[in-house]
Symmetry: C2
Subunit: 144 residues, 2 copies
Amino acid sequence: MFSKACEYAIRATVHIARQSLQDERASLVDISKAIDSPIAFTAKILQQLVQAGIITSIRGKAGGFYISTSEMKEKLIAEIVEVIDGDDIYTECGLGLKSCSSERPCPAHERFVSIRNDLKTVLKTTSIYSMAVGLKEGLTFLKR
Amino acid sequence: MFSKACEYAIRATVHIARQSLQDERASLVDISKAIDSPIAFTAKILQQLVQAGIITSIRGKAGGFYISTSEMKEKLIAEIVEVIDGDDIYTECGLGLKSCSSERPCPAHERFVSIRNDLKTVLKTTSIYSMAVGLKEGLTFLKR
DNA sequence: ATAAATTAGGATAAACATATCCGAATTGAA
DNA sequence: TTCAATTCGGATATGTTTATCCTAATTTAT
């Protein structure tokens, strides 16, 4: 479904948000441990998220990553996915046709269209905040 | 969503089925033209489908690939997907957790579970035959 | 100032997916 | 029997994703 990079990106962002909810910054090492991801690879992904304005980084000693509560309420999973993987997952034809549409559908079009729309809706209505809350309350998990 | 190989596999199978509906075998060259795919790569994929028993091949002059009408009514998209990509797409956690479940969910679990189930249902209820018919009737397309 | 802890970013490696090439095996027809 | 058309299968090449390594830049605290 998503690339590894995108999976790490979402998990990392949710962890950062969860820490930010209690006014703590998350360092790269923290994040990498919390989500069980390769540290240097995770660093690259965090850079992309920072450049895209989804999270904020602070350099130097006692630095780290954070996201304000208001930001995490505005930002949606879709934005993370689009930065890392693009929007192909809910825009492109399931069978790889370039111009597949209801006017010129692939043989699977009618069946896939509603699934893609549902996925799009989920990604575009689920905020980082909503995921961070469940994590903070111990209802959800980020590794294993 | 699917790998390129899997996209080609589904399109190739539907083309073969469509040809088989009018008792014509499809050669590798035919298929590759009909679905606009790289020929040698397509050959590898067809081999996998033959080994998995989804299509039948006939060697030698006037050889090619086919699938009987009764077979194409039984075989589902899911079987093609499982042979090429495995069933990860509708069984694995969207965020990449190894043991994500309703007992120990990732932060996206509840939202993804219904989408994955819908996808599973579509793949496990759509027969090759149903797709081949639409194609034969000129209602659907396999390239562009 | 200096040292320590941190993010940023370039270079490289390893693994996997995609794609090509070529010869072998098979079959039907001339 | 030979030839042509075809699938089969091994070897190789190319491209992309995933991952690591190392150094630079930044910031805080001593």
